[in-house]
């Protein structure tokens, strides 16, 4: 009891001194906590993580410049690392964060704000999931982005194009010497004459739909190439051809082509410019418009040749319902089943491109098809050889056909 009384007396007497001591302890503790917190936040002084090493910066190849690729070696221990911060500096740019890369990567493409012919240096830091960062790595050697004049990764494409060009020129020269080149029968194109004849007998027009793609598309060009012999046949049979178009340039080309066909047949007086007309530029409005023509005019023959998409079946089924003989051809593989189902004849894929040569029988055009066949033969051989050799681990043939 005495000691308790003594303690009370002691605290009462030294209250001010004890309060000061307690306040001092709290202050020191607060300072220590603050210092520890700051150590956790200061990035460069962390000792827990190692940064990536051997940072290499280089200009990205085969491009228009303005891109730098950064490569690095992973730190020895990556167990506590979430990713890497990438810092960039240049003469007119202070060191700043330029990007972030996940932990398992060893390459980053920097294309934000890079200027050509400016030297850039890169530093990197590792960062943990808690936000603790390592010290900065050594800076990379300076790298400069600049544009290239040739895409080395397309060298295989160029080689193939030149090879193919050589084949085409070779076969054209052979054709000029008068050598006959065999061309297999294409039933869809053989049926064209019959289809035009049928329309003439019935006294009804022929509807020619050149697809819904502009003139820049190779399928539309092929459609225009077929249009001319068709128009010539139509003129010879003194029938009528209707060509609704979706594109103003296609309309102009189609008008000239049909006019030329009629001129060659000696029937320019039968040519009616308003039969080759612009309908609309909207896909389904075009489909609705062409369907309307089919229902009202009841053409005896419908020719769908060119590039088609979702409207293919809308057109072909309506034509089928009107009882017209239908010949369709497209290079869009996805639309072929619809045409096969709804049309009498279907010109598939490359046959569309060959149609012009087939119909005109021009030896120079036919010779280009021969070059095409040889090209296909080459690809087939490469496919067979590539498959066979890849079984034994030799993949060099595959690399010929892939972009590097």
């Amino acid at each position: 009891m005495c000691s308790v009384y003594w303690l009370c007396w002691f605290f009462e007497k030294n209250k001010k001194t004890l309060d000061k001591c307690l306040f001092l302890i709290i202050k020191v503790n607060a300072m220590l906590i603050g210092i520890l917190f700051l150590i956790g936040q200061i990035p460069t002084d962390s000792v827990f993580l190692n940064p990536p090493t051997n940072i290499i910066a280089m200009d990205a190849p085969n491009d228009r410049g303005e891109v730098i690729i950064i490569k690095w070696d992973l730190p020895e221990d990556i167990s506590n690392i979430e990713g890497y911060q990438i810092f960039r500096e240049a003469e007119e740019e202070t060191l700043h964060l330029a990007g972030y890369s996940p932990v398992d990567r060893t390459e980053y493409t920097d294309q934000l704000g890079i200027k050509n012919n400016v030297e850039y240096r890169y530093r990197m830091r590792s960062i943990s999931p808690e936000g603790i960062v390592s010290i900065s790595s050594e800076p990379s050697l300076p790298a400069t982005a600049y544009p290239q004049w040739f895409r080395m990764d397309y060298i295989n494409v160029l080689a193939m194009v030149l090879l193919y060009l050589g084949l085409t020129v070779y076969f054209v020269r052979i054709a000029r010497k008068g050598k006959k080149i065999f061309l297999r029968r294409i039933p869809g194109l053989d049926a064209l004459e019959e289809a035009v004849g049928r329309a003439t007998e019935m006294g009804k027009p022929i509807l020619y739909v050149p697809g819904i793609w502009p003139m820049s598309e190779i399928g539309t060009i092929a459609a225009m190439n077929i249009l001319k012999p068709v128009a010539k046949k139509v003129a010879q049979y003194e029938s009528r051809i209707i060509v609704p178009t979706i594109d103003p340039i296609v309309m102009n080309v189609a008008q000239q082509t049909v006019k030329e066909g009629f001129t060659e047949a000696g029937r320019i007086d039968s040519y009616n410019e308003d039969d080759v007309f612009y309908l609309t530029s909207a896909q389904f409005a075009y489909a609705a418009g062409v369907n309307g023509i089919m229902i009202r005019e009841k053409p005896a023959t419908n020719l769908f040749l060119g590039v088609f998409f979702a409207e293919s079946l809308l057109l072909a089924e309506t034509g089928n319902a009107t009882g017209a003989i239908q010949i369709a051809g497209t290079d869009r593989v996805a639309q072929l089943p619809f045409f096969v189902a709804a049309c009498d004849y279907c010109i598939m894929g490359e046959e569309l491109y060959a149609a012009s040569a087939y119909l005109s029988e021009d030896p120079r055009l036919v010779s280009a098809i021969k070059a095409q066949d040889w090209g296909k033969m080459g690809i087939l051989i490469c496919l067979a050889l590539g498959s066979l050799l890849s079984i034994f681990g030799a993949t060099f043939i595959i690399s010929w056909f892939t972009a590097r």
């Binding site: 491009d63 085409t168 190439n225 082509t257 308003d274 189902a341």
Partner: protein, 206 residues
């Protein structure tokens, strides 16, 4: 000369320039492509629309004047074009024009697109008749694929989805790739014929 040689020379020069441009990544080459493809094409297209509109009006006015079957559709097409054009030019903020597009044109196009479902059904009915061996094979394959694509296929036989996947990725893919290789080569051959001036039908000349 103006009729044949000049267009052919333009096709040759521009064709080869575009071919070379593909292999040059330099910004100069990029600018050349943008000028040719974007600016020139837009300018040409702008002028071509004048011809297109002339063609549009001539075609429909003739139909109305001669009172051909369905001539009132032509009248409606002209009224719709003028109404749409004036609403775009007169209304300042484009709200009315946007409403016309969103609440009239878009639903009309969606209606046309939705008709495809019925056309697919009627085309499939005709295509899947077992007339000969090939048609029967097509019918059987189509039935397997259709059943395998819906939950009942898995319910009937666990291996059905795998069988469908095999059909799609092996025999179907092989045929598609065969056609695509042909299309690719054919497209290159046609482009070369045009560049070299062998193919001239699209210019109106032989």
């Amino acid at each position: 000369m103006l009729r044949r040689t000049l267009p052919q020379a333009i096709a040759f020069i521009i064709g080869f320039a575009m071919l070379i441009q593909y292999f040059i990544p330099h910004p100069i080459s990029e600018r050349f492509y943008n000028v040719i493809v974007q600016q020139w094409l837009i300018i040409i297209l702008g002028f071509m629309y004048i011809f297109a509109l002339r063609s549009f009006f001539m075609h429909h006015i003739v139909k109305i004047r001669r009172k051909k079957e369905g001539y009132w559709f032509s009248a409606m097409a002209i009224v719709a074009l003028l109404f749409m054009l004036s609403s775009g030019l007169i209304t300042t903020r484009g709200v009315f024009f946007d409403s016309l597009y969103n609440y009239m044109i878009a639903p009309l196009q969606a209606t046309m697109f939705s008709l495809l479902a019925f056309f697919i059904a009627s085309a499939a009915f005709r295509a899947f008749r077992a007339r000969n061996f090939q048609a029967t094979l097509l019918l059987v394959t189509a039935v397997i694929v259709m059943i395998g694509r819906v939950p009942i296929g898995d319910y009937l036989w666990k291996g059905m989805p795998d069988l469908v996947e095999w059909i799609m990725s092996v025999p179907n893919m092989a045929a598609m790739r065969g056609i695509r290789i042909g299309v690719g080569l054919g497209a290159v051959a046609t482009a070369m014929k045009i560049i070299l001036g062998i193919e001239r039908s699209y210019m109106g000349g032989e």
